[in-house]
Structures are given as structure tokens and as C-alpha cells.
């Protein structure tokens, strides 16, 4: 099985660390990209061809773990700009998994309205097994 590539977009370094540890616990073979906010993440997808060359087999990532509350460009702002990028480059994968401490049903509903958002993880409220299942279900 080839490496699974994921991107974590979160301004909190510790939350990225926690997610990376949970990914490790899944025992899946995972390569991780990290970005600190929506703006950096958009930039990452914008230089598409270059990144494809620089990260053969890993770009675009299969899953993007996306935080909501981030400075400069927040999760929702990212989502609305990501759609056009995804179709422009014909990205088949690049599914979004929300990764937020917000338990607001409104946030959940708003996020899941985008068809490329495949799940909503509440920080601190999911197990490594659940994470593993979710990722496995997304493989293309």
C-alpha cells in the first residue's frame, strides 16, 4: 500500500502535534504536510504543478484536516476558495476533514454543505481507531 498523504491546517502547533501522534497510532503509513492557516494552505494548492513535481506521489494530499478558527484566512474562508481550486486542477482527492474544537451544530452544518467536506472531527473527541476508519474510507 502506498503512502497516504495528509495536510494539517491549524494555527495551533500543539494541536498539529496531537493529530500527528494520533495518526501515528493508526499505524497507517502517513506523510504529513503542515500549514498554519487558510492562507498558507491556499498558497500550497495554488502552486500546484510545482508541488506535484517536488512531492511526487504525495501531492495533492488525500485528506486535508482543516481547523476553523485561524487568523488571516479561517477554515470557512478557505473552504469557499478551495472549491474552485479543486476543480481547476481536477483534484480527485483532497477531501476535507474538519478538525475543530467547535461543537457548534451551525459550524458543522455549514462545513458539511461543501461536497468535498467528508467529515467533522471535534478535537479531543475521537479515537485513533475512528481516525483510521475515516482515512481508509477515503482512499481513491
Amino acid at each position: 500500500m502506498s503512502k497516504i498523504s495528509v495536510l494539517i491546517v491549524d494555527d495551533n502547533e500543539v494541536d498539529r502535534y496531537l493529530l500527528k501522534r494520533q495518526l501515528k497510532e493508526t499505524k497507517l503509513d502517513v506523510a504529513v504536510f503542515e500549514k498554519e492557516n487558510g492562507k498558507e494552505a491556499l498558497d500550497f494548492f495554488n502552486v500546484y504543478d510545482e508541488n506535484r513535481e517536488n512531492h511526487p506521489g504525495l501531492f495533492p494530499p488525500l485528506v486535508v484536516f482543516l481547523d476553523i478558527n485561524m487568523p488571516l484566512v479561517n477554515g470557512f474562508e478557505f473552504l469557499s476558495k478551495y472549491g474552485p481550486l479543486r476543480s481547476k486542477h481536477n483534484i480527485e482527492a483532497g477531501f476535507i476533514m474538519m478538525f475543530s474544537s467547535s461543537e457548534s451544530p451551525l459550524d458543522r452544518k455549514k462545513a458539511l454543505e461543501f461536497d468535498y467536506v467528508k467529515g467533522y472531527l471535534t478535537k479531543g473527541k475521537f479515537s485513533s481507531e475512528e481516525l483510521k476508519e475515516l482515512i481508509s474510507s477515503l482512499s481513491v
Partner: protein
């Protein structure tokens, strides 16, 4: 009709004409005024002798309005109506309702609105003999209407303000609940990993994670302090005290240098105000501390010398506080959101609650002051002007 009945009717008409609060004005077919009752005299300031057999109603109408109406009526009747007496009567001549608002001009030049109805008069043979105009002064009505419009407008504005406040409050509670919870959730997960690490003998990892827990808790503490000062900035009661700027700045410098800033902070001070100034010391101190703390956080380490300065001066009845630096500046496209809560513009440089400038703004607003910001990549300057409290007379 028998004569007695005719006389009775006549005297009734006379009584109406003399006692009515309506101006009753009659003309012949050409528009020359033939009668002008007491109410009309009072309303317009002319005596009957000045008008009867001499003038037409045009004398107390507003010419531009008559021209305007003549155009409207021409369109409506599909023939040219000349501005003048024809304008007043053309609709009545067609048997159409003729009641409109007009502007009358009193002999003394005052303008006032009236509701004027015009009807054609006929004799017993059915021949048209002239016209009758009934006019009611509606200035009071108009004023009420205007007042009503104003109140409705005012209501709409305060409604808008309320909606904005409500929106702000919702945003605030959404963000505070998130930002308060997030570090707790993170710290809790970290503590679980610390346990795992200790159990597995990974003491180095456990140590690192314990440090991270401490950082999360410190962040939470700062946030709670900021939320509390924002809340207290919102509370009323102004407390006036003597303001010793030297002292205030000394305290701030002390606090800033103990919050983990590696290099000592030099702040240039230039205070040229009266020592006996009175003002809201706590608010002023919060404003200065938040601005200076930003200067420290967003120093531009690529510049040879890092400059941070405060100038306190007075101008007319205002205290002017200028806080400036040659730091990173605020990116142009984010400047419109400068005072919005939870906005952070250099997330990679420093962590913060995103509440600092909201606290500044709220305090300045409460003191009835104004804020002026200039920011480029060469640095930032905040000028704050607040009205002076009274001086203490010694």
C-alpha cells in the same frame, strides 16, 4: 324656492362663510376674486378690499409650483394647460376631483402648505358663473408627519445599532467559548500523552509535552485577563483620578519586561503635560499598555534599531497620547478590521487573544476620545486624543 327658504339658506351660507376655519375664496370665470372670507383673511394676511375685483388667487400661490402642476395637468389632460388660473380650475372644468396640496404665501412672505379643493359654481340656469376654492392650513399636520418620519428614522437607526451590537455579542460569545475551550481540550489531550510517555519511558517526550501544557495554560490565563478587561471596559462608571504618566509608563514597562521578552525594552518617553491632570487612570493605563505591548510583540528584528516611543502632550482641551514604533506595521488589507475582536494580523510572530485593540477602542470610546492610526511597513503610530478632566486647583 320660496323667498323665506332662500333667505334662510343664504344666511346659513353667510354664517358658514364667516365662521369656517377653512379659507373660502370665490372667483369669477376669469379668476378675479369675488369673495374672501374671514378665515382666508387670517390665513393669508390680506383684507378683502386688497383682493376683491383686483387680483386672482395667483397672488398667494408659489409660481414654480404652479408651473410644475400645469405641466402635470397638461400631461394628464393631454392638452396644454397654461400656468396660471387655468391650472387651478382645469380639472374641475372636466368634472374631475380637484383636491391637492399647494403652497400658499402669506402677505408677510411666509410659506405654508394647504389642502385646496376647487369646484365650479353654476347659476340656477346651469350656466357656469365662477369657481369656489376651499383651503385648509395643513402645516401642523405636515409637521406631525415630519416628526413621525423622523421618529421612524430614529427608530430604524437604533434598531440597526442594536442588531450590530447583538451581532457583536454573538460573535464575542462564539469566539470566547471556542477560545476558552480550545486550550483546555488541547491541554487535556496532552496530559493523556504525558501519561503514556511516562509509562513507555519516553521521559524526554513527556517533558516536552508538559512544557506545552504550561504554554497552553499561560495562553488561557492571558485570554481570561483580556476578556475580563474588555468586559470591565464596557462597564459604565467613570473613575477620575490624578494621572501621573511617568508612573503609569513605569508600571507598564515593568509588566512588559516580565512577560518573557528576551531583550530589555527601551521605550522613548516624552511627557509634556501638566502634572495635575485628571482623567480615567485605569482606562488610560489599559490603552497605553495594550498599544505598547503590540509595539514590543511586533518589533521588526530585521531593522538595525528597534524604536518604541510614547509622547504625551496636550492640545486645547485634549490629552494627546501618541504611541509609535518602527515595527512590522499592519498589513494594508487588514487595517479595516483593526479594532474588530479576535483579529490577529501577524499570527506567525506572536500569539495573542486578538482582543488588544478592541480593548483600546472600547476604552477610548468610553472616554469620548478618538483614535488615529498610521501604519506602513516602516512602523505604526497610534494617536489618541481624549478630552481632559478638570484640573485640581492647589
Amino acid at each position: 324656492m320660496d323667498r323665506r327658504l332662500k333667505e334662510k339658506k343664504l344666511s346659513m351660507l353667510e354664517a358658514i362663510e364667516e365662521n369656517a376655519t377653512l379659507a373660502i375664496i370665490s372667483t369669477d370665470l376669469d379668476g378675479t376674486i369675488t369673495s374672501f372670507n374671514a378665515a382666508a383673511q387670517k390665513m393669508l394676511g390680506y383684507s378683502p378690499a386688497e383682493l376683491i375685483d383686483k387680483e386672482t388667487p395667483g397672488v398667494f400661490h408659489l409660481p414654480p409650483e404652479v408651473i410644475q402642476r400645469s405641466k402635470e395637468f397638461s400631461k394628464r389632460l393631454n392638452r396644454e394647460i397654461l400656468p396660471g388660473f387655468e391650472t387651478f380650475v382645469c380639472l374641475s372644468d372636466q368634472g374631475l376631483p380637484n383636491q391637492f396640496e399647494w403652497t400658499y404665501i402669506h402677505k408677510n412672505g411666509d410659506h405654508f402648505p394647504v389642502l385646496l379643493s376647487v369646484a365650479a359654481l353654476f347659476n340656477s340656469e346651469g350656466t357656469k358663473t365662477g369657481y369656489l376654492g376651499l383651503a385648509q392650513d395643513i402645516s401642523k399636520l405636515k409637521r406631525n408627519e415630519l416628526d413621525l418620519e423622523l421618529s421612524v428614522e430614529k427608530l430604524a437607526t437604533s434598531n440597526q445599532k442594536l442588531a450590530l451590537l447583538n451581532e457583536e455579542l454573538m460573535q464575542f460569545s462564539y469566539r470566547t467559548s471556542h477560545d476558552l475551550k480550545a486550550p483546555l481540550v488541547t491541554a487535556y489531550s496532552l496530559s493523556e500523552y504525558v501519561l503514556k510517555d511516562i509509562n513507555n519511558g519516553n521521559l524526554e517526550e513527556a517533558k516536552q509535552n508538559t512544557k506545552k501544557i504550561a504554554q497552553q495554560m499561560n495562553k488561557l490565563k492571558d485570554l481570561v485577563i483580556d476578556i475580563l478587561s474588555l468586559a470591565s471596559a464596557d462597564l459604565g462608571e467613570a473613575v477620575y483620578e490624578k494621572i501621573d504618566f511617568k508612573n503609569i509608563l513605569e508600571d507598564i514597562r515593568h509588566r512588559l519586561s516580565t512577560t518573557g521578552n528576551e531583550s530589555p525594552i527601551a521605550i522613548k518617553e516624552n511627557i509634556s503635560v501638566d502634572k495635575n491632570l485628571i482623567g480615567e487612570r485605569i482606562r488610560i493605563s489599559q490603552v497605553l499598555e495594550n498599544l505598547l505591548s503590540n509595539c514590543v510583540k511586533y518589533r521588526d528584528k530585521n531593522k538595525k534599531e528597534q524604536i518604541i516611543g510614547v509622547e504625551i502632550s496636550s492640545h486645547l482641551d485634549n490629552i494627546i497620547m501618541r504611541v509609535y514604533d518602527n515595527g512590522l506595521g499592519i498589513p494594508m488589507n487588514y487595517q479595516k478590521d483593526l479594532f474588530k475582536m479576535f483579529k490577529r494580523f501577524h499570527p506567525q510572530i506572536a500569539e495573542g487573544s486578538g482582543l488588544g485593540l478592541s480593548i483600546v477602542k472600547k476604552n477610548v470610546d468610553r472616554m469620548g476620545g478618538t483614535i488615529n492610526v498610521q501604519s506602513t511597513k516602516n512602523g505604526t503610530s497610534f494617536s489618541i486624543s481624549i478630552p481632559k478632566g478638570e484640573k485640581i486647583h492647589e
